[in-house]
Symmetry: C2
Subunit: 209 residues, 2 copies
DNA sequence: TGTACATCAGTGAACGCGCGTTCACTGATGTAC
DNA sequence: TGTACATCAGTGAACGCGCGTTCACTGATGTAC
């Protein structure tokens, strides 16, 4: 006799699961993911501590789910911002704009990403590194596409410079999180300019803007 | 009747204090400062848990001591690297070299700095931000000095760009910590180049290298 | 010099607390026939 | 249609454990006179 979960039951279970993910994100913004306890998260999500195990084996599994679902979605949005022909200004502007929108819409997700990227939880750190690598790889490919299409005397964007640009983008998000909205425009422009400096075409003899 | 501590007694107390600071640094490199316990650190330092209170009121005070003593010293070393006339190549080269030396000599201090700068411990985060601000402020002043001395058509280094350069320097240290020594030379050159791109003089019409 | 006293880093016992985890159970819901 | 059974998310009691903190004490060392 096989009993399969109906759509309604699955939906209800998913609701609780999302409550756990949301609770963990909310609490980790305040005290750091590594310091979160299973009981604390369950309490915030409104379930008994023992019910936690119906959804995740431990907090590490929950953290990985956060990355695979919520962070991956954010990174996918950023990847969409990269201009296919490698245009620097279009790319930096779109990336900056998308990142600052994310800061407004999902500040807790950004805090999680920024903290755990260099946090003490090795498996989360590695998972986040892999996610962010998708963005810098996209930047590299776009730059290469431009070089080939236009036959410029250009080396294209080095992997290091691409990673550095992503680092600046994340650092900009970190500033925006701690900043008053009034300074937002200045931050946005300075960030886009700094990123452009890193990723705009460069060869031995540099182009004029 | 007033009894003052003799130099010998002070020295012995200082020895234990340093053991506590070292133990905290060592352990936090592995699991993060926020997750460290007073008993854990005391155990590592070879004293009874209750003796901890003879030196620090709590772990927060210990963390602040780490910053005020060990991190401040590192930042002072980096500040020394900034060429007084704002020369970009000299500065980025010296900063990169000093930072990579620090990565070799004090990897645990670097891990602590990198993690807690964006960690969940607010008082440590703020203290580290203030320390690192000394370096970016120095970069700004050096740039300004160069502009005034040579009367260039140059805006000087913006505070944002200076902070961004410091961010890249720290990101370079983070890579070096996770990297095989063989890649060190390439990292060093790429890091210095990326920083130079950010801090080298820039005006409307850009100079040729 | 000897004696009484002050200081203070280090200690072990003890406390109450929240933690992660296990277990057997409940009750709603779906399946078999 | 009714009945017996399977599944499974959620639960409360209970466990052993390590934590931060308090307390009174020790013993080495320095001071006063």
């Amino acid at each position: 006799m096989v009993v399969r979960a109906t759509p309604e039951k699955k939906e209800e279970k998913e609701r609780v699961r999302l409550a756990l993910l949301g609770a963990a994100l909310r609490l980790s913004a305040a005290h750091g993911f590594a310091s979160l306890g299973l009981r604390e998260v369950s309490r915030e999500a409104g379930i008994a501590p023992t019910s936690f195990y119906r959804h995740f084996a431990d907090m590490g599994e929950l953290g990985r789910a956060l990355i695979e679902e919520r962070v991956a979605e954010l990174v996918a949005r950023l990847v969409q911002c990269v201009a296919p022909d490698g245009d620097s200004d279009a790319t930096t502007g779109a990336l900056t704009s998308a990142m600052l929108t994310a800061v407004d819409d999902e500040p807790e997700l950004l805090r999680f990403l920024l903290s755990e990227r260099v946090g003490s939880f090795a498996s989360l750190r590695n998972a986040l590194r892999d996610e962010l690598a998708k963005l810098s790889l996209t930047l590299c490919k776009a730059s290469k596409a431009r070089v080939e299409a236009r036959e410029q005397d250009d080396e294209g964007l080095s992997p290091f410079a691409a990673d550095a640009a992503v680092t600046l983008l994340l650092d900009g998000a970190a500033r925006a999180l701690d900043q008053a909205p009034a300074q937002r425009t200045a931050l946005s422009e300075a960030l886009a300019a700094a990123m452009a400096r890193l990723i705009e075409p460069h060869s031995g003899a540099r182009r004029r803007p």
